[in-house]
Amino acid sequence: MKGSGSLSSLRAALDPGRYWSRAGEQLQTTTSGAAVARFGQYAVLPLLAIAGGLGPSYFGIRWTFAILVIVMYALLRSRSGLFGMVVLGAMLVYLPHQMDTFERGIMFDIALYALLGIGLNVVVGYAGLLDLGYVAFFASGAYLYALISAPQFGGGFDVGTSFWIVLPMAMVLAALVGIALGVPVLRLRGDYLAIVTLGFGEIIRIMINNQDGVTNGPVGVFAIPKPHFGSTELSGPVELYFVVLAGCFVAAFAAERIRDSRVGRAWEAIREDEDVASSMGVNTTAYKLMAFAIGAAIGGGGGVIYSAKQSAVFPSDFNLDVSINVLALVIIGGMGNVRGVILGAMLLIGLPEVLRDFSINIAFIHLDNLGADYRLVIFGAALVAVMILRPEGLLPARRRQAQFEPADVLEPEVAT
């Protein structure tokens, strides 16, 4: 009990938002309390910094990334309006030019996963449908582009269709796949839905793996051409990073607009209590399918870009880990919140990679290959730590933050 007490106070110290709101009355009366709270506000930054890869120079770590994470956290958290967004945009556009190949690769991956996260967030965060098979849509998009565009010796059909035509096609295809998945499972709730969608993701991967005639099986599809923009070939990670970044902005904008519309309110009603929503006349079937379709379309688009960037796709690229990663970044970032998704992607996708360089060289301690060997160990521990310290995610959606404010009860409420 004692441990949990100190833990929760630590958590409170690290979470200024909650600290302010919960202990507001108490704090404003005592200046020392306010000082603690203010300290808490900034205490979270070093934590993120370490997570994102910063540290004193005797930790072998990438500075650029660490600073990027911190600045992004500050910007995203402060909701600093237009100016902040402009700064953020400028950073996201400018920084990759200053990065090396590895970091650009990571930036691409982060942006791609942020895009997937925005898509999954529609399903999980907005409509409250737990989907563990999101990779299915990603895979459909990726394979559609791969098969249509790769030459025959690379396992494709060499149809010669341009990236820009396949992109919307893939989104429509994925949306249809999403609806096809949605129809049989609409009656299911919560964790039943989770396992069925997980199974669906696996089925898609297994089918791709075994339908050699169509997909070239485990050998994969390769020599996938890069897209062109005008006469420019978008060949490097930076160019495609911009494509995916643009995709993120469009998707994020669209997702937030939809959330704030009538559709979004219907989703919210379904998420809070499906029976009530249904009795209030919300067509739950249609709205749930719509969430699946929108989420899937974004995933399919992400797949096309992935395929183009990777130049080779394999069934094993689309395993359960992808779904889990996307879900984890949505939750770690703060469910129902696009800003959180971006931050979640930075941590979840960026962290294991920047940890490759992690080493400790303090005095006589020389752990040079610490990151290379133990990065996944550290990563697993970090997942647990972030969740314990910030159970609502790094940047919880405003409404949720209030909703999940814990009561000081001795016995927990039954989670519903």
Binding site: M1, S21, P406, A407, L410, E411
Partner: protein, 255 residues
């Protein structure tokens, strides 16, 4: 866990009123930032039946949940038989002699009637005594005896209410918290339930009763409190309350 619980059982600061069985002093409690009760003070003496009446959302159930430890008060003190209990965990409060039959019955629907009843005596170990008590409550509620093997969820509303009370009695409480025992029951059943409540009280159990059915509650109770938006609006003997304008107009539906 238990270490903290014992240390919390310290002599009450308000031990100045020695005879008080249960005492609440300026208790503030609720869910998160929403405080459903805002400084309630009340007391229940040994052997009494005390009624808490009030409208929906007045904080009646929250009061009971705070007493039984389901909610932790953010301010104020609660003491029972001279010991502070406001930091004691719910399961230890049961051991101290308070039993709570919660609102909406809260029967374990997938457990049999018998299992439900035995759970009531979860804290106790004396097997023979438990069997005795089982016999006693089944005599008190003959309807339950016919259904001991059935799942709790299959009982009718009235039977579930009986089960909830019977189950609470299985803990051999010195104080019984009853939350809306008449809710959703037919008048005949309400009558039966309340007759039983009186019987239980006569057998020596102090009762704190929360009711919307103020007429019924005030027939059974000796004293009563009227709660309005989380605070005590009125405290008096049952007869006085029945006669008061506030109660007559608002809770007894008289013109």
């Amino acid at each position: 866990m238990s270490g903290e619980a014992t240390s919390a059982v310290a002599p009450s600061a308000s031990a100045g009123a020695p005879s008080a069985h249960l005492r609440l002093d300026g208790v503030v409690s609720g869910y998160g930032q929403i405080k459903a009760i805002k400084g309630i003070s009340l007391h229940v003496e040994t052997g009494e039946v005390v009624a808490l009446i009030g409208a929906n959302g007045a904080g009646k159930s929250t009061t009971l949940r705070t007493i039984s430890g389901l909610l932790r008060p953010s301010a104020g003190e609660i003491s029972f038989e001279g010991k502070r209990i406001d930091r004691v965990a719910a399961h230890d409060i049961v051991r101290m002699g308070i039993s709570h039959a919660p609102e909406g019955r809260a029967i374990f629907g997938r457990l049999s009637v018998l299992e439900n009843l035995r759970l009531g005596a979860y804290q106790r170990n004396a097997r023979a005594e438990i069997e005795q008590d089982l016999e006693r409550v089944l005599t008190l509620f003959p309807r339950l005896r016919e259904r001991v093997k059935q799942d709790g969820g299959t009982l009718s509303g009235g039977e579930q209410q009986m089960l909830a009370i019977a189950r609470a009695l299985m803990a051999r409480p010195r104080l019984l918290l009853l939350d809306e025992p008449s809710m959703g029951l037919s008048p005949v059943l309400v009558e039966t339930i309340f007759r039983t409540v009186i019987e239980i009280n006569r057998a020596g159990t102090t009762i704190l009763l929360v009711e919307q059915n103020a007429a019924m509650a005030l027939q059974v109770a000796r004293r009563g409190y009227v709660l309005e938006s989380g605070a005590v609006a009125l405290e008096a003997s049952a007869a006085e309350l029945r006669a008061s304008d506030l109660v007559r107009k608002t809770y007894l539906g008289e013109a």
